[in-house]
Symmetry: D2
Subunit: 315 residues, 4 copies
């Protein structure tokens, strides 16, 4: 239940990956029960079935992009809502058994996404090493620990867990890469507005209407609501049919956001509310953009008061 700190957490496993690292930044999770899940669907189903109070799953990566399976799971099945976001830097490291020196590394295990994000570093420092694709960052660390490969690209958290040593840190090509995780619960009253919130939506466009996406965006701009993310995903039915995942600044309890959501509800084939929650501002990120002239909360309150007066015969 949002509002009350959940105690049973599930997260995308295996252990010792970025998701567990992200989960440990939530105070309640440090004190609570934490269980890895084999997949995002398994994690979310645990929440749907009541076996867990909240699930932490990756939702977006500044290099790899959308995490499609998470988006699809949120858009389909029993409704779930995001109650918190966690944003952590993507800091890949190269690690190996203590006796391995960097110049001896001939094979590196890595999840394909991880090696893709460290391509430039690998070309510069290990041009002759063979990259072995494995199915997770944790598997890579395990393979390095057991000697199946010489070294692994993995998350910092895995180094201590698998008793391997750091050969190089910050090896990602994009030093400012971030991954964004969503803490997901069963529907309930959203967390109270903080003044700097995000609202997530899954929006299905009526495809027989020309310019439908333009109309969707207009619903936001006309009310001065800033979009911070827009992602399209095929609906699975056929090529050319999309669901749009939108994040906008503000809380569903805000007048402007409520009005925009009601507007979407009217013109879209379907809208699924995926939660309002405080924005996680990672260090070094600029402050939220100010509302355009005439669209602040004060302006909203003023215009509502004026409308009431006019309706009552005043001016």
């Amino acid at each position: 239940m949002p509002g009350v700190p959940p105690t049973r957490f599930v997260y995308l496993g295996p252990e010792s990956t970025f998701t567990e690292q992200a989960l440990l930044t939530i105070p309640a999770a440090e004190r609570g029960i934490r269980k890895p899940a084999r997949s995002v669907p398994e994690a979310l189903d645990a929440v749907r079935d009541g076996d867990a109070d909240a699930a932490l799953v990756p939702i977006e990566n500044s290099v790899g992009g959308q995490v499609g399976v998470t988006l699809d799971e949120l858009a389909n099945g029993e409704p779930l809502v995001i109650t918190r976001e966690v944003v952590i830097p993507v800091e890949f490291v190269l690690a190996a058994r203590p006796e391995i020196r960097l110049d001896l590394v001939r094979s590196v295990a890595a999840h394909p996404q991880a090696s893709a994000q460290c391509r430039r570093w690998l070309r510069a420092h290990l041009p002759d090493a063979t990259v072995i694709d494995v199915l997770s960052n944790a598997t890579a660390a395990q393979d390095a620990a057991s000697g199946v490969v010489d070294a692994a690209i993995c998350a910092p958290i895995a180094v201590g867990r698998y008793r391997i040593s750091l050969l190089a840190d910050k090896i990602a090509d994009h030093p400012d890469g971030m991954t964004r995780f969503a803490l997901v619960s069963r529907p309930g009253t959203p967390p109270a507005p903080t003044g700097d919130d995000l609202t997530s939506l899954a929006v299905y466009i009526a495809h027989d209407r020309v310019g439908a996406l333009l109309e969707v965006l207009t619903q936001f701009t006309v009310r001065g609501v800033n979009l911070t993310r827009i992602e399209s995903r095929p609906t699975g039915e056929r090529l050319g049919r999309y669901v749009f995942f939108l994040d906008c600044a503000g809380h569903v309890a805000d007048a402007r956001v409520g009005e925009a959501l009601a507007g979407l509800r009217r013109i879209c084939a379907d809208v699924r509310f995926l939660g309002s929650y405080p924005r996680a501002v990672p260090t070094g990120t600029e402050p939220p953009v100010a509302s355009p002239a005439g669209l602040s909360d004060v302006d909203y309150a003023d215009s509502a008061a004026w409308l009431s007066r006019v309706r009552a015969g005043g001016h």
Copy 2:
């Protein structure tokens, strides 16, 4: 007072013009006191000062266009509101003393707007007659009655009043010409919605913002509110500064119209509410356009209910 039938009416004089003819179509006016005013400002000031309960003034002519002085008076000074519109056909007639036959007419008195609207008829039937400009349709009739001119272009109502005879009727070049009049009162609770209402506004655009008029129109289209009239008038300050007079379908009490008005209030330099009132549908006019898909009142109610559920933790 809106709601209670006003009893003291003032109208743009002189007597025996289209405005008096229009006033007599209002049942309460037939029973009430009716006084002509010398000018639109005089008529509206009589209402502002409490000397009259309502004023009937012309606001728009399908041939001559906007009646600027009425628009300016509504946009400035103590606020007034329109509580009713009256639309009557513009049916100019040619009239003269009984002894004058059409082929004897050598001079025709007419208000310049009246002769302009009958130009083609005059060229066809009285190519050699001199047109004498006069300051009102009633003056024209008077001049014909007194023999100053041979004939007059005037309103049908003037024929009986000045004891002149009809030489020709329906002489206007545009047989479907209409004039629209507004019944104006001091602010008060608007007449109850009827399901087919109009709302009038005076909108001042913030001129330092690019695309400001586009934003104004978008406030309407995004909520499915149809504009039925748009007129620009200079504000008097300088060339290039305008106030826009807009009529939209719907009542200020409607959710969609209220939302659009509040939106205008936020982005415009100023908005003056000029009234919500039943649409006058003259015979032969097509029915109001249906709401676009997803923007009916039912859709508005549904989306409001959905938003309430979502805010309360449902979906």
Copy 3:
């Protein structure tokens, strides 16, 4: 003929009004033949029929608004184009026979638009005087000269012409009032672009398409073309049918303006080109607004060059 200085000018008469005053600011007109016309249609027909090379007619007044008859004449009949605009301050004066002192004035002749624009001054300085409506500013001056009335509201030019004396100048309520006149010729190659031009259009909207005016405005904004004027006029067919008169910054020879015009031509029921001509910048008026980022002429040239490269297989 545009390009060659016209020698036979016609203007909206009578003599001694603001239009003649405006005409005298054009060097070629000072040297040419100047003839007053009884009405705007008469003036424009003289050009259409080849009896005059150019006509000067009022088109817009910063207080009284659009000059409907001029707009209607330009929108209908044989095409004509504007080749020059003249903007002059509206400076009404009060004038009378030499023996009349201000405190003796009991009656004032004035065109209704003139007295409307001096209402505040009259209330302050001549609260007890009777205002007599007359059909032109020149008639007012004549009536004052002949003693029919004590004084006249008229244009400065009339004072010397009718041998009357100035009682007060700058009596208009809006001291910055301007009137805009159009010099109109038969179609021909427009005057060469000067870098600060205006283009005038009459645009007929297809009324069966929702949001048609919004689409029209979008054709301009999407190409960074600023609208400097928008006026609606009924088409004469029925209430609710309008033609829009638009002025935009730029010349028909400019890439951006040409593209916008072609766009209008595609989506509108009809578009009539009414001329491209240098902007008249009256003293004290601010400079033209700079193009928004990415929409300067350089940007247009760059994007055209890029498109050519791409079409040829480059990038």
Copy 4:
């Protein structure tokens, strides 16, 4: 080289996957040289380096969505263009050694995306089987052939290649799933317009401008150009920075598409042209949407002719 059938093809390997199956639908490829590449970047670099004439890579999957690595490779590095698209149905099969019957299957090898797309079928028919994640559909088939697992989810093409037998076909949850492949070459004159083409773009938005995506979409709608696909991808710099991959109907040689592209070029931080090529219409797909009123090619030609006349002094 577009225009001349390329002879040296490279495709995303390994052999016996959907990409090879798609390549074989291109007549020139059946006759040409075909080489698998280890990854999309390797395939595209082979074209960039001149080691291959064209590369076939997956670009979009109706279930799994965008193929991020392909999009990123097209948006970065030496420019490449798409000269052809191939769309084939996603038809997963379950295959095993001849002696294995369906009711004996206890383990199934599958690429995680493949098992995700057959989840419902697996739950219904093999609820107790263990799914073993492997790195490609071909590896799955190999593992089934060698007996490491009982069965494999793979492409039909793999069945004959690895001498395994079909246990079940059409096991994908979405029976209409499609995958879209792009044939990519070095830049050159695009294939000639066919009347039913697509144009692909990578568009970088200037993030300091409010409503930038809205402006991008407006560039298309205002010219009647239909978008058939919109995908966002992070630029890798940071969360909230996106490049948009857009497909629109039409060819870069078309007036409307050229105008829209030049418009994008002006307002966007950057635009990369990714090719114009014939639309692949898979059986059962509806015909392309007709142009909206006023935006057909005939309308474009008419408006261009009109503009030329107007610029020359006609109308």
